[in-house]
Symmetry: C2
Subunit: 195 residues, 2 copies
Amino acid sequence: MVNNFPPLIARIKQEGKCLAGGVLKVDSFVNHQLDPDFLMLMAEEFNHRFVPQSYDKIITIEASGIAHAVMLGYLTNKKVVFAKKKKPSTMDQSHMLTTEVYSFTKNITQHICLSREFIRAGERVLFIDDFLANGKAAQGILDLVQQAQATLVGMGFIIEKSFQDGGKNLRQQQIHVESLASIASLDNNTITLAQ
Amino acid sequence: MVNNFPPLIARIKQEGKCLAGGVLKVDSFVNHQLDPDFLMLMAEEFNHRFVPQSYDKIITIEASGIAHAVMLGYLTNKKVVFAKKKKPSTMDQSHMLTTEVYSFTKNITQHICLSREFIRAGERVLFIDDFLANGKAAQGILDLVQQAQATLVGMGFIIEKSFQDGGKNLRQQQIHVESLASIASLDNNTITLAQ
């Protein structure tokens, strides 16, 4: 189940920092500053793990998933759709799918939404995001994909915190989940990889 | 000053829709669904307009700017930093630059922030975003770049609403502003290009 991608592990060891409360800070290359060549290296690894012929479109969620999804979309020549965290003024209510996602980090329930135009019934969709922790965002995406009567073929994450139950819950639903790095613990300010 | 990029104009004419209140809906290829090959075509055009040797890093703002900035970063082999709309829990207050941005669309004032680590004194920065309307977000980025004692070398936008003052105000400050499409009016549900 655990399949750590060595170049990412090396970079996490070099640049990652543990903060209080089980927070892993990787904002120098994952979710604040981005290194496009390294994004492409990770996209190539996703492309080894998810057969490109098995999906039609990539879905992600704003904001931190976008860069990762777009790079895989560029590599595989597929369109990318990002779910939005608030209903934009340009989205017609009747053409919109919505669901609720509880954020533990922010302690709020947010709506995420998706235009029906961009995920159609019967389409096969791959979800890409930066972090998998409790899996609430992933579960919200699954709900949107199901509302659209599309098929979720898999979920790829840059980093999974395997000490939280998101990954376990998704895999119990027979979802093909791939994480490029699995972190078993961030206790004592130490990054411990899952084996 | 107006320099419309023909492939983008063609696509706006084909897929863009005018909504009430001067809203241009281009979410099939700019800010909800993304077409990575077309993103690269636009990045190549930005690369003709901003000499890559003139800047060190690309800055954008979450969420809709990220895809456009990342594609240019991939093309030019430069790092990308995206300003965040809320202070993330992983950002140390003392290492953070913040400024306020008023959003007309949402009628709220938001904080945007940037880690000092990723834009350093003396660095030359290019700003990329999807829309230029009243220019409040762009002005906020300029403030962050100045706080970092870095240099803003230019601002590139996918679509400028030239009937609002953002572009005029930025150009009056001697900023090199490039927009791939300039819209003169959205009155009467018609997209009228600037000439």
